[in-house]
């Protein structure tokens, strides 16, 4: 694809950036060729993807613009990178001699504005750092994905991420006020911070969720909310049926209540977290937060909704409070996971989908039935719903399997993609979306046209228009054809 060899690419980068910011160490490049999708290969030291030519650390919007102009003329594939917490292959360097462009050093918080309730920061700012700083001021971004200790704001925006309190605060698309992004032709664009406007289509949505395949996000402004942790009210229930659990979640959402957490775990996924009080039952979890009056009213309403279903047994809220205190993954968890996978030869992945209320339980049951029947060596197969809307919710399927008689590079095809394929098929045929919040990455592109149907025309035209040289994270979202 590109017109330069590796040495020319490295030399070209070193003309644009200080040499010490152009990394060519072989092992570092190997590790940069994958993300958590291929964690087993990485653990085994097997690297099946083309090794990138270099990792380039950028420190300004201007540097990014210069690099993208250079890459466009030389047709060098660019992989924008931030916190490296991607799970769907978005960071895989599937095109030979790609350049990984890393913005983690663009890590300044530019302003925290408590009058206009907005915070502006560079793309390399850690969400944990930003939110901790806001919380110290009595504010919060409200964004809390499980990857919070690892993820950076640019990547969270590029993947259209969502957090564990989304039922109250929304997803990243609801939180972004304005942003700055650089396009492959070097154009630096800034979308200003206004509460709302009807001045044509909302162009923020061209950037939010582009997964680095249309442009490079350099700065974001997000909304802020007052932080009332002292008013958190936890509720938990155990029940036998996912179908009933979905119905209760729906009732809560349709009646207009907005708990920050509204989750339903099936017995398999629930057992991992809650076996000490839930046994083999499903688990419903709610948290109400906000000003005291709102938190109390939300909690009372939810309790009344659930109380109308005697099949639901309440649990001591302190169990839920303890679970809440350990929500997120940090580097220690990741390191421990690597050891466990290596020693037990057992590994887990997830696939998240969304659908309307009327199809959710159908999708759940169809997936569980098919995956159990068609995929061998499963040790855990379950799921939970964690993001509710007035018209539906997501399901986060969780699956673990023993790795039996395979080479590391065979894990993806024998197990992970086999399971993901079933989930995607059963979801799309019932009108749902195959990607709720992890992004398409490189491994759901096979179904992207089915996902979009006739609206694929809009999606394709965006790529043709903004990346005519085809240099932005090729193979992500749009399949290479």
């Amino acid at each position: 694809m590109n017109s330069m060899n590796r040495e020319e690419i490295v030399a070209g980068l070193k003309k644009l950036l200080p040499a010490e910011r152009v990394i060519t160490d072989e092992q570092v490049l190997k590790d940069a060729s994958v993300d958590r999708f291929r964690k087993y290969e990485n653990i085994c030291g097997v690297y099946t993807q083309p090794i990138p030519a270099a990792i380039a650390y950028v420190e300004s919007t201007g540097e990014i613009s210069n690099v993208l102009v250079w890459a466009s003329s030389g047709k060098v594939n660019i992989i924008p990178r931030a916190g490296i917490s991607a799970t769907e292959g978005g960071l895989e360097t599937i095109v030979p001699n790609s350049v990984v462009l890393d913005c983690s050093r663009m890590n300044k918080i530019l302003s925290i504005d408590h009058i206009n309730m907005q915070a502006t920061c560079q793309a390399g700012v850690s969400l944990q750092v930003l939110d901790d700083k806001c919380r110290a001021m009595g504010l919060t971004t409200g964004h809390s994905p499980q990857s919070k200790p690892l993820a950076l704001m640019g990547g969270l925006t590029a993947t259209r991420s969502i957090g564990q309190f989304s039922t109250l605060y929304g997803g990243i698309e609801d939180m972004i006020v304005g942003l700055e992004a650089v396009f492959p032709n070097g154009e630096i664009t800034r979308i200003k911070n206004v509460p709302r406007r009807a001045a044509g289509p909302d162009i923020r949505h061209v950037v939010v969720g582009n997964e680095g395949a249309l442009c490079f996000i350099t700065e974001v402004t997000v909304k802020l909310f007052p932080f009332y942790p002292e008013n958190n009210i936890f509720m938990g229930y155990i029940l036998d049926s996912m179908k009933l659990g979905f119905e209760i979640l729906r009732e809560v959402m349709v009646k207009g209540y907005k708990p920050s957490i509204a989750r339903l775990y099936d017995h398999e996924d629930g057992a991992y977290h809650f076996s000490h009080f839930a046994g083999d039952k499903c688990v419903l979890i709610f948290m109400a937060e906000g000003p005291e009056g709102i938190a109390c009213a939300t909690a009372e309403a939810i309790k009344a909704i659930v109380a109308a279903h005697p099949e639901c047994q309440p649990v001591d809220p302190k169990h839920i409070e303890r679970w809440f205190a350990h929500l997120n993954w940090d580097p220690k968890n990741i390191a421990e996971e690597r050891i466990e996978i290596k020693e037990t030869q057992n590994i887990g992945h997830t696939t998240e989908i969304s659908a309307n209320w009327s199809e959710l339980n159908n999708i759940y049951e169809a997936v569980i039935k098919r995956v159990r029947a068609e995929v061998p060596d499963l040790t855990l197969l379950g799921g939970h719903s964690s993001h509710g809307y007035i018209n539906g919710a997501n399901i986060y399927f969780v699956y673990y399997y023993n790795l039996v008689d395979i080479k590391p590079e065979e894990e993806i095809t024998k197990y992970h993609l086999a399971i993901k394929g079933i989930i995607v098929e059963e979801t799309i045929k019932r009108g749902g979306s195959m990607c709720h919040h992890h992004g398409v990455g490189k491994h759901r592109t096979a179904w992207i046209k089915q996902e979009y149907g006739s609206s694929y025309y809009i999606l394709k035209t965006l790529k043709d228009a903004f990346d005519p040289a085809k240099i932005m994270n090729m193979g992500d979202i749009w399949p290479i054809e």
């Binding site: 000490h276 205190a325 020693e343």
Partner: protein, 294 residues
Amino acid sequence: MERTFMDILVLFKMVPNLEDLTEADWAVGENLRPVDTYARPIINPEDESALELALRLRDAFKNRVSSLTAATFDDSPGARRMAKTLKALGYSRVLLTPVDFDTRFCPDWIARAALEKTGRNYSLILTGSRSADGQNGLTAMYLAERLGLPLITEVLNLSPHDGDSTLIKVESLSDDGLLVQTASPPMVLSIGNAPSAILRVPTIKDRLKSAQEPLEIGTPLSISGGAPTALPPGVAHTNPPPGGATTTVKPGVAHTTLQALWREKQSRVAKVVDAGSPADKAATLLASLQDWGL
């Protein structure tokens, strides 16, 4: 005589996952321990290693391991769940015995009760060196003493001996580093911080297959004389009086007040006999016994 079959017993314990505790939970409660009511139970890490190493011996020795038994003094939901996991992994018997007292600090009782419950005819008895919550580290020692069996502590790995299928290669941690010994069952093995022994995971099919088997729950046990209680008022832990003087209570005296209680010192000693030939080892051992006045 070649030992044809091996029966293996593993003693294990469920402990609270202390990482689940919040900052407030670490405040010492009424019973002088942190609030672990809401912590998830997990398998004690060194017992987990013991369970996995036993499975590896079964795999390595193929048909020579005739039974794998596991036992614990606990029938909580966490212990029951672990029992189901062990059955799914191929443990032929998992015995749960409920108790109504704190088992952290009575290792001799645990050893005695374990042998009463499970029997004494095992080729290998494995248990973790210490529990995450009790840490007394003595249960294996009391087991070995009661059975009159050799004990190797801080075991890190077990494998069949290359040349002789009746022997086991035992890797353990000693003060001088890694110790590799050839051992002949029967014996007791106390598993230490084994670096690569996380319990394997049963498949859903294996779990469903064994789910129908009823759990074996023994008769509840109480420590004889009742559960250990808090110290009575007016009595405090203290060091023995200087010179080892004792306080005696004369029978029939109405106003004698208990002054102090202390545990008598108990100790055991072990020495590695490091010499060339069996004759050299015997000579070294004899000299040591004479030095100890035995």
